[in-house]
């Protein structure tokens, strides 16, 4: 556990120049919507920061979030930030295996009690579900999470599975999967959703925590507003085509080639809050919509169950056509029946109508 070196020292050792470091701090400040005057403050805080211990727990996940993180375009400074935090436990990235790995986790927890960060990636079977669906070293995910967060300063749920349950929680949820925030009530939880999240967003959230020692401002889903404050639709470079009513209708028509709006091809951009449209992927190279693919809405809860990926946002999720046909047929049958009954009632009334002559009426007077 080399916690003696400060981040600044460590960065210099890795050959990151002061200028490069300050540029990163300025970028972080603007990403978090802070005034430019905050950049030196971020630099100062990061320089002095001791390497904080991070325990990364991987539960019911696909390692996509880690893949995303490792693609944070080497050798950028955000990649090094991750090198220089003390990542004490991470299945995919750690060298240790078996007992040694679990010891590393326990040691990190004991040495840094009350100060370490827990990053969770993946959902986990809830307390009432069969714990056998996902275990690590013979420990159920639920027990490991509860045990590890005991001494944690905060929990960061990385990826939509950890934040909202994601794919494992999708209907019919066979493993009884729940999200981290469903279980962790007494520690601050930051949700960094996305399938996977933008790498810069993961590192940005950690940088903010290191800088200020406080939680970022969160939205109603517990996501940092700095990155999840605006919808894809509002920041989409194809938005002018939506406003003009120019839509691609298939993946290879003239509209698609001309870069028109992908709404009709199922784009969920209007309901999706994420930073893809502004920060982009692969070092700012591109992002799904720019590649001609509609947004899936992967940073939103229950996006797997929110209708077909290639169906427009306004299309209902059930099968309303069948409902309409069935209800219509029943309605027509009942309507015809009711009409014929009233008709018959009228005929019966005429039939039972007693004929009265003028003389009979006169008698009654």
């Amino acid at each position: 556990m080399a916690t003696s070196k400060t981040l600044g020292e460590s960065l210099r050792q890795h050959g990151v120049s002061r200028r490069g470091f300050l540029k990163f701090c300025a970028a972080t400040a603007s990403m978090m919507a802070l005034p430019p005057s905050m950049a030196p403050a971020i630099a100062q805080a990061l320089e002095k920061a001791r390497r904080p211990s991070v325990i990364w727990l991987s539960f019911q996940e696909c390692t996509g979030c880690t893949e995303s993180l490792t693609r944070s375009f080497s050798p950028t400074v955000e990649n090094l930030i991750f090198d220089v935090i003390s990542l004490d436990y991470h299945h995919t990235l750690q060298a240790a295996a078996g007992d040694a790995a679990e010891h590393a986790r326990e040691q990190a927890m004991n040495t840094n009690a009350g100060e370490y960060l827990v990053v969770v990636d993946g959902s986990l079977p809830g307390p009432n579900a069969n714990p056998g669906y996902s275990t690590i070293a013979g420990i159920s995910n639920y027990d490991m999470l509860m045990d590890t967060i005991d001494g944690a300063a905060a929990v960061v749920a990385v990826g939509t599975c950890a934040a909202f349950g994601g794919l494992p929680k999708a209907d019919p949820n066979p493993t009884g999967a729940v999200s981290v925030q469903d279980l962790v009530k007494d520690k601050p939880v930051i949700n960094v959703s996305g399938c996977p999240p933008v790498p810069m967003v993961i590192t940005g959230v950690l940088a903010q925590f290191l800088t200020f020692g406080t939680l970022p401002e969160l939205d109603e889903y517990g996501r940092p507003r700095a990155f999840f404050g605006q919808s894809i639709h509002d920041r989409c470079y194809r938005r002018p085509f939506y406003d003009k009513g120019k839509f691609a209708e298939s993946f290879d028509d003239e509209g698609a080639k001309a870069g028109w709006c992908l709404y009709r091809l199922g784009c969920k951009g209007p309901m999706t809050y994420n930073a893809c449209a502004t920060m982009k992927w692969n070092g700012g190279a591109s992002w799904p919509v720019e590649a001609g693919y509609p947004c899936l809405g992967c940073s939103e809860p229950d996006f797997w169950d929110a209708g077909g990926f290639y169906k427009a946002l306004s299309v209902p999720t059930g099968s309303p056509g069948d409902v309409l046909l069935t209800a219509g047929a029943v309605g027509a049958a009942v309507g015809v029946g009711a009409g014929l009954m009233s008709r018959n009632q009228g005929k019966q009334a005429v039939k039972h109508h007693d004929k009265v002559t003028a003389d009979q009426l006169e008698e009654k007077l």
Binding site: R264, G318, G328, G331
Partner: protein, 207 residues
């Protein structure tokens, strides 16, 4: 319940429930009316029925806010691209739409028209006297989908799943209320106008 839960509820089970009640209710009413038939008229006809009947269907439109918002409502309902996508997925038929800014302008006019007719109803002594609680109810259930649709399009309610969910929810209220109130005129108005014109035409009267 999160805004997303609300949106999925309105897009899924509630929508199916609403269109089931709508289809069942409106078809029972329409088939009941048509199955009743009309009494045979034994009098000799003095004129044609069909042409005066068809003429009456469109002749009674007046260029007033009432007609204006009706036309706007139909344009926004049938020619907005997301609505066309919904109809295509439900009924399997589709047609070209209008550019969003055109539908936006039409919606704004529709909203103003609806407010104008409400003010007229409240200030005109005869109309006010004739108005029943149901008239105010159907004004409200008609106004709300247009208003929430306008707010959702302009993203004035956040987060968007809540805005869209509210819009779909108000449409579902409209669909459920429709078969059991004066809103059935959507389906019966033109039939009634045709009959009216046809009856006068048969009698040789200009209607």
């Amino acid at each position: 319940m999160t805004p997303m839960d609300f949106l999925l509820l309105t897009k899924g089970p509630l929508f199916s429930l609403a269109i089931a009640i709508f289809a069942l209710g409106i078809l029972i009413r329409l088939f009941e009316i048509f199955a009743l038939g009309r009494a045979h008229n034994y009098a000799a006809a003095r004129g044609n029925e069909v042409i005066p009947g068809l003429k009456t269907m469109y002749r009674r439109f007046n260029p007033d806010p009432g007609t204006l918002w009706h036309v706007g409502f139909v344009i926004a309902l049938l020619l907005f691209i997301p609505h066309i996508e919904l109809i295509k997925s439900t009924l399997g038929v589709s047609w070209p739409g209008l550019p969003n800014p055109v539908v936006d302008a039409v919606t704004a006019i529709t909203l103003l028209g609806l407010v104008a007719v409400l003010i007229h109803r409240l200030t005109h002594p005869v109309k006010r006297f004739l108005s029943t609680p149901q008239d105010y109810l159907i004004w409200t259930v008609t106004f709300l989908p247009v208003l929430t649709g306008y707010l959702a399009y302009h993203r004035l309610i956040n987060p968007y799943p809540l805005a869209l969910g509210l819009h779909i929810f108000t449409v579902e209220i409209f669909l459920i209320v429709l078969p059991f109130t004066k809103l059935t005129h959507i389906f019966t108005a033109f039939v009634a106008r045709y009959y009216n014109g046809a009856i006068f035409g048969r009698k040789g009267i200009q209607s």
